[in-house]
Symmetry: C2
Subunit: 344 residues, 2 copies
């Protein structure tokens, strides 16, 4: 008789907040590794907010877990048997074997963990996906500069705690948002953030404003909802907002944020959209390139243009009112005086 | 007696759509150039949607025109008298002298126009601010790749017509949105866009979908409102959305788009925000950098972390439900099996 393993499967798709009855714990026989396979024993299972998305159907960046299927998740495992030349018994590996105590793998997608880098549990934490989310989102998108203010919510969590500490390493002011006094104290006193605001405080907006006297340059978005609404008015010009999660919206059946805004942010996340406002003068350094290319294209006939001319300054107000309604056909100009440039 | 010049001043701040009575045409004496000054005679005045913003008070990226002040605007002028060594009588210059037929300038902010590049009127059109808005917004933010689909509204206008034509030069599919059959025909037949959809069509969303069979990779946003709502569901993963205007919202007193979304987009524009969704795997190429930096910071004590451990797989569902409510304090892990890694 084979020994028993344990797994957690999705029993039902949750409506709103998941309930215990949406999960089911099952026993199963520990499988046997075949040719090219390894048998993994799970030591650490990481639980992460993104898993809520996998429990629901509907468009996202990944397939949902089927009902009856093993819940998905990152794991730290020990190789307990190997018929694969790349892995030996006793190796520790990072896997995505899910909520189960034993799993087979063919070696693809496994990454060996070097225990010298830190406790092996950090391979799904600060040295794993949450740490790398903080690192890349903050440095590659947020790009904090010295003296700027970086705000992150869920600041005592795996991602948020790394975001604020990396911001400090880069010379920025780090302000966290967390739930309750204990977490806020930890964020300030142990993690070394400059300040931390309790999101349960009824005065969240005012407290956040006080904690960010020079506004917010980077908001690392991982919660959405009411926190986003408090942050938004404080964003400075040229602020950057990496969006890697919207945990406050994940259980929404009747969203607290207006439906349209909530849909917009959900799409920004799942489709990894970039939305960026600009004024042409922000690109002043590109003027030489522009003039060279555009006059060349014009000369070669690759760019055509059309002018819509109103004669005389008296006609300017009506022309402008028309422009706002699309009455013009081409570039709207007012000819104020005679153009003798073709003589000169 | 001195000769008379003419100017248009802001008579009143418009509520919603500007009316003719919000402007006033005035006569004034042609001024005389003093030491270091030049006298400019306006030939071409450019009318642009951004001017609507200058007519209102309230936060934007620029100061409003005061009531009674000359309306702001880019101009092409001839130097008719000069006491400034950098400019000669007969020079053509690009200025920002506004809605008036004569103006004095001290030379700062004037740029000489080379009539060899094209008709001087293009200095406020395709070779000026609108052309450069199209060029930088599309190339620096939109970054269209060969075969991608670029959509732009107000496609027969100064900015939109350049956006689509540059997209074609870069090998992308260009789809315009314009008001009425004449403009759509012009955009397709004369400007060479691949398709153009009439925004007055009650079936805008369906027509746009048909015109973009592979979705939308770049949406150059200059209108907002209903057009944005038709575009949004068609955006592909990793789509880019440069936002340089929201003309459909400029006259809003009671916005058609929900207030919150409209405020969000207005802020994206005026504050030049960058909002970018991401998933950590998008940055897979940065994994080596991450592991090097983060393990170094960990070793040096610059990064601290905290684990919140649930014992046993049976506890995983409750731990996950708690995680979504912030019940965890630090990185949430489930210890599924014994960790002997410290031995190995």
């Amino acid at each position: 008789m084979s020994a028993l393993a344990k797994r957690v499967v999705l029993a039902a798709r949750p409506m709103g907040e998941p309930k215990l009855s949406d999960f089911r714990v099952e026993d199963y026989a520990i499988p046997t590794a075949g040719e090219g396979q390894v048998l993994l024993r799970t030591i650490w299972l990481s639980l992460d907010p993104y898993m809520r998305g996998r429990m629901s159907e509907g468009p996202s960046y990944a397939q949902p877990v089927p009902v009856g299927g093993v819940m998905e998740g990152g794991t730290v495992c020990e190789v307990v048997a190997s018929h694969n030349p790349n892995f030996a018994k006793g190796d520790f590996v990072l896997s995505h074997s899910g909520w189960q105590s034993y799993a087979l793998a063919d070696g693809k997608g496994l990454r060996k963990i070097d225990p010298a880098l830190g406790p092996i549990s950090t391979a799904v934490g600060v040295l794993g996906m949450p740490g790398m989310t903080a690192y890349t989102g903050l440095l590659d998108i947020g790009q904090p500069k010295e003296g700027e203010t970086v705000v992150v919510a869920a600041a005592s969590g795996a991602v948020g705690s790394a975001v604020g500490q990396i911001a400090k390493i880069k010379g920025a002011r780090a302000v966290g948002i967390a739930g309750g006094k204990d977490k806020c104290d930890y964020v300030k006193n142990e993690l070394g953030f400059d300040d931390c605001v309790d999101h349960r405080d009824p005065d969240l907006a005012a407290k956040l404003m006080a904690a960010c006297p020079k506004g917010i340059d980077v908001y690392f978005e991982n919660v959405g909802g009411a926190v986003f609404e408090a942050v938004f008015p404080l964003l400075n010009a040229f602020a950057r907002m990496p969006v890697c999660g919207l945990i406050a919206q994940y259980n929404d059946t009747a969203p607290t944020t207006p439906k349209w805004a909530s849909a917009l942010m959900r799409n920004v996340l799942t489709k990894r959209l970039t939305i960026r406002g600009f004024i042409v003068s922000d690109f002043a350094a590109r003027h030489g390139d522009f003039l060279r290319d555009m006059s060349g294209w014009l000369r070669e006939g690759q760019i055509k243009h059309r002018e819509f001319v109103t004669e005389g300054l008296d006609g300017a107000p009506a022309a402008f009112i028309g422009l706002l309604k699309g009455a013009n056909f081409g570039k709207q100009l007012v000819q104020v005086g005679p153009d003798n440039s073709f003589d000169g």
